[in-house]
């Protein structure tokens, strides 16, 4: 059994909803969608029992009606699993994970600033990375956000030779 199969097997045994849902992309790369209410239990199990002690990054995704939050957990052996949860766009609220991963603080602040996701439990602190005078309710990484004063950008794609 490969290392990837071992991880998938253990996760499916512990969390039956993962059956047939974990995608093995290649060696050391696993991906799965997780129901938001199960995320904490899965993350705890990965961290406490399966050696996924690294949180490499949290990626925000604008998926239209929902925002995706993609957590990449890693084992020191190099194995990575990307767990994605979806939260509704009209109520973009989620929980902080600084109690488990104190290092996630800046990652969460970044998503709060750029996507407007509110992290419950994240203590008040200095924002990151937008300027202090950035207008309220402007979240630049949302797909429907356009700069107010658009400046000339790159040449049209048609002119680019691949």
């Amino acid at each position: 059994m490969t290392a990837e199969e071992t991880v998938v097997k253990e996760l499916v045994e512990k969390f039956p909803f993962f059956a047939e849902k974990i995608r093995t992309q290649r060696a050391r790369r696993l991906w799965a969608d997780v129901p938001a209410e199960q995320f904490e239990a899965v993350a705890h199990h990965l961290f406490e029992k399966m050696g996924f002690t690294m949180l490499c990054s949290i990626t925000g995704l604008d998926e239209g009606a929902t925002f995706g939050l993609l957590y990449h957990f890693g084992q020191p052996s190099g194995m990575m699993i990307g767990l994605k949860i979806s939260i509704p766009r009209e109520k973009p609220e989620w929980k902080t994970f600084i109690s488990m991963f104190p290092g996630s603080e800046l990652y969460e602040r970044e998503i709060a600033d750029l996507y407007g996701v509110r992290f419950e439990g994240l203590p008040a602190g200095l924002r990151y990375p937008l300027p202090d005078d950035w207008p309220d309710n402007e979240f630049p990484l949302r797909k429907d956000w356009k700069p107010k004063h658009a400046v000339a950008t790159a040449a049209p794609a048609a002119e680019v030779k691949s």
Partner: protein, 408 residues
Amino acid sequence: MSKITIPIGPQHPALKEPASFKITLNGEEIYSMDMRLGYNHRGIEKACEERSYIQGLYLIERICGICSHSHSTAYIQALEELAGLQVPKRGLYIRTLIAELERIHSHLLWLGVAAHEVGFDTLLMYTWRDRELVMDHLAEIGGNRVNYAVNTFGGVRRDLTPDEIAHILKDVDTLEERTKYYAQVATEESTLIARLSKVGVMSKTEAETLGAVGPTARACGVDRDVRRDDPYAAYGDVQFKVCVDDHCDVYGRVLVRVGELFESYNIIRQLLKNLPEGPIAVKSPRRIAAGEVFSRYEAPRGEDCHYVKSNGTDKPERVKIRAPTLANWRAVRKMIEGNYLADAPIIIAAIDPCFSCTDRAIELVRPAGGEVLTWDQLRRHGIEWHRQQGLDFAALNKKLNSHMGRVK
């Protein structure tokens, strides 16, 4: 004693990049630190979504003025995986070679900055002089000192000639000799050891939970290196040791980086000895089918992660970059607590925060009536100048050696 808070930055002589630190002091001791980052935020992730993949490559190369190749490699190997491209071996070897040359120049630069922060400017001058050997090679291969633009979608843009290979191998030997001297300084120079030991302490457990990466984590005994744990490019074909140290302080961070310099020389020799023949790149598509990839890269400062999601067009749906310094900031806050204010610059510098190095000075524009000196002439001139001021280095050396009980 009442606590006082002093602001450092965003622009400050002791900082090489804009960041604002609010340091709360209890006497001379640092009680806590808060920081405001983001002054360099340029919206590159958003900009990538509006540009073609190849335009994004040039943008991403400009994230950092030191580890430009790190970001471009992390990004381009994500694209290559998404598009299912098999990069020719020679291309991967050259990509890895540039990566290691970059690590050498970055670590030498850091060693100089760290030495400067503790008032050891002689070492700064030495390391930055030696670093020029590597910068010249990067400029020779890529055409530029900082943004070498060696990577392209499907391989690399520049091949190596036998002359270049011989020249690199010769300079690697020189650098190794110099680095042996730095290793000797780091392990024998008692003032340096005393100044850096027990400064910026962080335990192994703290390094792990706070998410520290790279030499910062490895100096706390965290045995991790993406090059070994999750091999990419040509790292699967070379043998090297991951440098780990258990001093858990700034001194340990010096030892790890000096150790990594030796490993980089080692890797470069292996790459050039076994450099495969053949093409250096394959043709790349303009559009990429929908998919997502998480790419990892061991940059000089630690793990660099790029996430790229494609949607079938010629532009990415999402590009997410997690640079190593972002992962290390939380650890800085921990490491600085309880130290003296005077230690703040070296503790911050010890994670090697990214700053721009955009100077370009390969050709010397000779001013009218001026004189261009060779390195030897300059050295002799310096010694002669000091002798005229009453400083005789030969006599001083003799005195120092006899004082330290060495017989010369």
